[in-house]
Amino acid sequence: MSKLRKLLDRAKPHFSPGGRLSALGSVFDGVETFLYTPRTTAPANNTVHIHDAIDSKRTMIMVVLALMPCFFFGMYNTGYQHWLAAGCTTFPFFDLMLYGFLAVLPRVVVAYVVGLGIEFIVAQIRKEEIQEGFLVTGLLIPMICPVEIPLWMLAVATAFSVIFVKEVFGGTGYNIFNVALVTRAFLFFAYPAQMSGDDAFVPTSTPLGFGPAVPDGFTCATPLGQVATTVGDSLSITGVDGAAITSWDAFLGLIPGCFGETSVLCILIGAVILLLSGIGSWRIMLSVAAGALLMGWVANTFASPVYPASYLTPVDQLLYGGLAFAAVFMATDPVTAARTSTGKVVYGLLIGIIAVIIRTYNNGYPEGAMLAVLLMNAFASLIDWCVVQTNISRRRARFAKLIKD
């Protein structure tokens, strides 16, 4: 047994009921179960509720692992966009990574400190275990925001979201809406200039004085932002350096956008990890993509200059913006998604369709994936209810027929 285990065992009596530090019992419990798999995955008084052999901390760790490719690519891309904006022609790999790391680290720290801080406080007040849902949420939040979002805004939005979307509903597992997406929605509506302005997505600052200087007033909109403001029927999407962006660039992810969601390639790697570990639902991922392709095809068939985004091909609809990220990491959130198999397909299809409808037919919102997922979160339980009721009435009809025969 390792030293760490011995240390924990020695400290345990102090945190148990009656011990000197019993008020901090849930903090200790949180640390202990984070470090070591607990013997039980369900409360002892409530043993019928075992879902799986792994407890939810292990589930969360798998999701964090699946997010890692996107995260590291986000670091690289952040540096890459900054170097491009500064007019450099050479891109030293480790400098780019270091720049991206320095840029995103404060956001990750703020999201975790604020979110976990609230979770710890609530757990002490309610005398419950610390709920581990924020492990993933805290990483997702910086990944779906522009990398230069001011820290205090991120803190306010995270606090709002954790309190009003999660804790008031009863904590992890009881929230109706995806916590990370509500954080983003809060920022989107509260501080539109910092969330969707033309200068929001290109990292121009030099954290700790690192990285080349970018000219003052440098702006470049995201591909979807450029599409939304296109006049006429010829789309021209350009990158930070003015060169055209191809679908291949969008697939690789070397385009301006939110920190973690630009690279479809890395998102696919994450999707494979989620599917292999059995945590993500392939039904939802596939049906979101199918819904987006279907609606993208419809929009593209009836393309009109009034709605410039309708000139995007269906595949481009999937490659640009946050739709792919939303399909793999947001829509599949097991708490807020539909739970029946048929329900998952309906839920996913509607997310894909609504996301493309919003980004195509509402020029005010260049990206609709966030709103589509949140909207369907609200309808997920209704979809499940309909599926279950249909099943009940079908079986009832079959039974009635059996009796009659």
């Binding site: 001011p150 205090w152 805004m153 306010v156 009003f164 809060f186 509506f189 509260a190 501080y191 539109p192 200039a193 910092q194």
Partner: protein, 208 residues
């Protein structure tokens, strides 16, 4: 009803324990609509106090002569007449505020608090208690309006009654007004917060 409840309770209960907005959850629509700024919210609150008090008194005077089958129509006529008077007064003496409140002054007619008080209180009580009840419920409504508008204007526009209160130095340091505060959903969340605070002080109001 008036026999076993004191005048003081009739007047003061609606402030908190029996508040029309956060306990009876009536009149939510106008709370969402007119509270982006403090000034229109307070004018709206005063208008509702006036309309509610006088319609309560008028209906209370007529309560024994109104045929039961058409009482709602009679109540509506009285309220509508009072609302038109208030609306004309605002247009004459506070034109800018009446523009901001636009249709919501006229919509006082449909405010559930009015019909609720007329039906539940004025139809069965003498004019003086009915007047107190109207004033009390009107103030209870106005308090909530003012609290919600205070926070929405402070955080949404950085002003109070139109005067800037968030110092320029803060804006220069990177502070930005919260655009979500201006949008109606935030009013709903603020009302929820008021309910939260009120319920944690008034344990008897907590629903199981």
């Amino acid at each position: 009803m008036a026999d076993n409840i004191s005048y003081k309770d009739i007047l003061f209960n609606p402030f908190s324990k029996d508040n029309p907005v956060v306990v009876q959850v009536l009149g939510i629509c106008s709370v969402l609509a007119v509270t982006a700024k403090l000034e229109p919210a307070i004018v709206m609150g005063l208008s509702v106090i006036a309309v509610l008090a006088f319609s309560n008194v008028i209906i209370s005077f007529m309560r024994n002569t109104i045929p039961n089958a058409i009482r709602i129509i009679v109540q509506l006529v009285v309220v509508a007449g009072l609302v038109i008077i208030v609306s004309e007064l605002l247009k004459a003496y506070a034109y800018n505020v009446s523009l901001q409140l636009s249709v919501y002054i006229s919509l006082i007619i449909t405010n559930c608090i009015l019909m609720g008080r007329l039906e539940a209180f004025a139809m069965g009580n003498r004019p003086w208690p009915a007047f107190l009840d109207g004033v009390g419920n009107g103030i209870g409504y106005a308090i909530i309006l003012a609290i919600v508008a205070f926070f929405r204007e402070l955080f949404g526009s950085g002003t109070l009654f139109g005067y800037q209160v968030v110092p320029d130095a803060l804006y220069e340091a990177g502070y930005v007004n919260n655009g979500l505060m201006i949008l109606p959903p935030m009013a709903l969340i603020l009302v929820a917060c008021i309910i939260w605070v009120q319920r944690s002080y008034n344990k008897s109001l907590q629903e199981k």
